[in-house]
């Protein structure tokens, strides 16, 4: 019914002939009540601080790629949170008695949430650039993730995102990368590339994970990873009971699914006695496990969590990874959840410095870098293509300004978005994986 599409540059489900952007058969009143209940659960001290602090200055608009490329005021980041803010002001805020008395705010209702679906899902990648711009420091991206919990509770998730999230919960992967597919692909890649790819070793110091985008579209990433790990001589493995690091529970707004997806990996790491969990080239996987994984587990994790770029940076810093120098210039696209929101902006730059690459930074780069437009699940949504492609024009301009010979990132979702943007605009640049670039430069 929701067949996967592996023929186009962007992997998601095939464009639905009839969209089902609501789930279940609850009445509008029930949907509104469910959303409100979920919103209230997320009204923590941080959310309350932010809800009370907005001065309606509009600075966040200029930081948002969807606003900047459309000029549509609805895409102003803080406006995307209006139902959440409304719920706070009317139901839980310190002045809620006034709002209720004078009916200044309507209760959250399903009709409004249906209108806001486009704002909370199609036109927000949760990239957090708006948070940088906000003079009050409001973490708008974090609040959008919370507002999505209410949308999921109301059964108002966009068709494609719900379909891939449900598949991920049911099969263990949003793109059909089931344990059987994983095993077959690893066998094929091992034979084809004559590399030992460890799977289901009972004990290992390092548990590595992957994004199913890598497994299904960029399998050479796995080969690159195996070559590097084998060269380092570490004890490592993939595990078929915990390999998929993407977390569509997080994107769709279902905390239970997010927890299930995180715990599969956490439990696999514990079972293998791993001291280090290495996350793949995937931005949101980093946020989901590095910063939210322990909270899903309910206590501190008994192992370290590193993004692959951090793992590589550590290896070059310790002098364990010898690399041949690169001769070309390169520009690096920062995945928002790893750099700006994850705090690992320096890691890929350490790796590129070890490669001796001439790094040509985009204007702006690092923490202020523009998002590719495909994060937050946006790349899965056919109906968001127009917004996403418009936003991608910023990326093309950024990359072209550098005149770098090569272009790399450390997020397969960004890479997928770049591939789709490249095909859409018939652009002559090709996004590469930092991991694969490093593997190419391993000394003989």
């Amino acid at each position: 019914m929701n067949e996967l599409d592996f023929d186009s540059p962007r992997f998601t489900i095939k464009k639905p002939a009839v969209r089902h952007d609501k789930q279940g058969d609850a009445s509008d009143a029930e949907r509104g009540a469910a959303a409100l209940q979920a919103f209230m659960k997320d009204m923590t001290r941080s959310a309350a601080t932010y809800m009370e602090s907005c001065i309606r200055c509009g600075h966040c608009a200029e930081a948002c790629h969807f606003y900047v490329t459309s000029g549509d005021p609805q895409f102003t980041p803080i406006w995307k949170l209006e139902p959440f803010r409304q719920a706070w002001k009317r139901e839980a805020g310190p002045l809620s008695f006034l709002y209720k008395t004078f009916e200044r705010r309507k209760p959250v209702d399903a009709e409004q949430l249906r209108q806001w679906q486009e704002l909370l899902y199609d036109s927000c990648t949760m990239c957090g650039r708006c948070t940088l711009a906000c003079p009050m420091g409001i973490d708008i991206a974090g609040l959008v993730a919370q507002a999505r919990h209410g949308m999921f509770a109301a059964g108002l998730v966009p068709h494609e995102l719900w379909a891939v999230a449900e598949r991920a919960e049911r099969e263990g992967s949003p793109l059909g990368a089931t344990p059987r597919v994983l095993k077959e692909r690893i066998e094929w890649l091992s034979d084809e590339h004559e590399v030992d790819i460890a799977l289901d070793r009972p004990q290992a110091d390092v548990l590595v994970t992957l994004s199913s985008i890598e497994l299904m579209k960029y399998p050479k990433s796995l080969v690159a990873l195996a070559r590097i790990l084998n060269r380092l001589g570490v004890s490592w493995t993939f595990r078929s009971d915990g390999y998929e690091a993407t977390n569509f529970g997080l994107f769709s707004g279902n905390l239970d699914w997010q927890r299930d997806m995180s715990l599969r990996i956490v439990n696999a790491a514990i079972a293998s006695g791993a001291k280090t969990l290495v996350l793949p080239e995937c931005g949101h996987a980093y946020g989901a496990l590095r910063w939210q994984g322990a909270n899903m587990y309910g206590k501190p994790l008994p192992f370290r969590v590193l993004h692959i770029s951090e793992f590589l940076a550590e290896a070059v810093r310790d002098g364990r990874l010898a690399l041949k120098p690169m001769r070309e210039s390169i520009t690096f696209h920062d995945p928002c959840q790893v750099s700006r929101r994850g705090g690992a902006t320096g890691a890929p730059r350490e790796v590129l410095a070890a490669l001796g690459a001439e790094l040509r930074e985009m204007p702006p780069a690092g923490d202020a870098n523009w998002c590719c437009g495909g994060g937050g699940g946006v790349v899965t949504l056919h109906r968001a293509d127009e917004h996403r492609h418009r936003a991608f024009e910023i990326k093309m301009r950024q990359v072209e300004t550098t005149r770098a010979e090569r272009l790399a990132t450390s997020c397969s979702n960004c890479r997928l978005t770049f591939d789709d943007g490249q095909a859409h605009y018939k652009w002559d640049q090709k996004m590469e994986s930092l991991l694969e670039v490093v593997a190419e430069q391993l000394t003989d």
């Binding site: 923590t44 001290r45 941080s46 959310a47 309350a48 601080t49 009370e52 602090s53 907005c54 001065i55 309606r56 200055c57 509009g58 600075h59 608009a61 200029e62 930081a63 606003y67 005021p73 609805q74 102003t76 803080i78 406006w79 839980a92 805020g93 310190p94 002045l95 006034l98 200044r104 948070t131 940088l132 711009a133 906000c134 003079p135 009050m136 420091g137 973490d139 590095r290 910063w291 939210q292 994984g293 322990a294 909270n295 587990y297 309910g298 206590k299 501190p300 994790l301 370290r304 700006r340 929101r341 994850g342 705090g343 902006t345 702006p364 780069a365 690092g366 923490d367 202020a368 870098n369």
Partner: protein, 214 residues
């Protein structure tokens, strides 16, 4: 009791009480909410320093992110202008001294007149932007316009006193307009005078823990 005595006495006491109790209630409304435990391994432990840094760092335009330049310059202008008018004008310092016993050196009147002029022009530009800019128009509601009004009113009633000598009724109107501002402040966006510290600190501390940018 004359109008001036009323403005200087019970009205002032009432407005200050509303300001203090209102702001305390607003902050209580935030801090009574549950805080979620964060079990992730911190990248950095100096979270308080991150919070304090964010309070100051957010006074400057963010690096690498384009902001609404003219509106930011204007915001600096009327915030600084307003601070000078309120806290550096000799008659205001005298009033504060009478009320609290605290005093400091005033700036020359000419500087204050320029500051008042800049503030009034700045606030007028801000209002025009709010009415004309599609983003700001969409975001704006009663709070935004009423907060603007109660900020502008004491400036106008104060400017009306300048030709001097001040009539008691005019002084009373000026004081009452200030008291209206104090009464409204905890209930609307003007509370950012206090919330700015809470909000920036929150993000600064949380993001410092992750080593992320603010």
């Amino acid at each position: 009791m004359g109008l001036l005595e009323f403005a200087r006495g019970p009205a002032l006491a009432f407005s200050v009480a509303v300001l203090v109790v209102g702001l305390a209630w607003r902050l209580y409304g935030i801090f009574r909410r549950p805080a979620r435990a964060d079990y992730s391994e911190p990248r950095r432990h100096d979270v308080a320093a991150g919070g304090v840094r964010a309070i100051f760092a957010k006074m400057l335009p963010p690096r690498g992110v384009k902001v609404r330049g003219p509106s930011m310059v204007n915001a600096y202008a009327y915030h600084i202008g307003l601070a000078l008018v309120v806290f550096a004008f000799a008659p205001h310092i005298a009033f504060i001294q009478r009320t609290t016993g605290l005093a400091w050196r005033a700036l020359p009147d000419a500087v204050i007149y320029v500051a008042a002029g800049v503030t009034i022009v700045g606030l007028t530009i801000a209002l025009l932007a709010r009415l004309g800019d599609p983003v700001l128009r969409l975001l704006s509601g009663f709070d935004d316009y009423f907060s603007w009004f109660v900020t502008m009113l004491p400036l106008i009633t104060g400017m009306a006193l300048l030709p001097g000598p001040a009539q008691p009724v005019h002084v009373a109107i000026h004081l009452l307009s200030l008291e209206l501002l104090l009464i409204w402040l905890p209930f609307g966006k003007l509370a950012h005078a206090a919330l700015v510290f809470v909000s920036r600190w929150r993000t600064g501390a949380d993001f410092r823990r992750k080593g992320a940018a603010v």
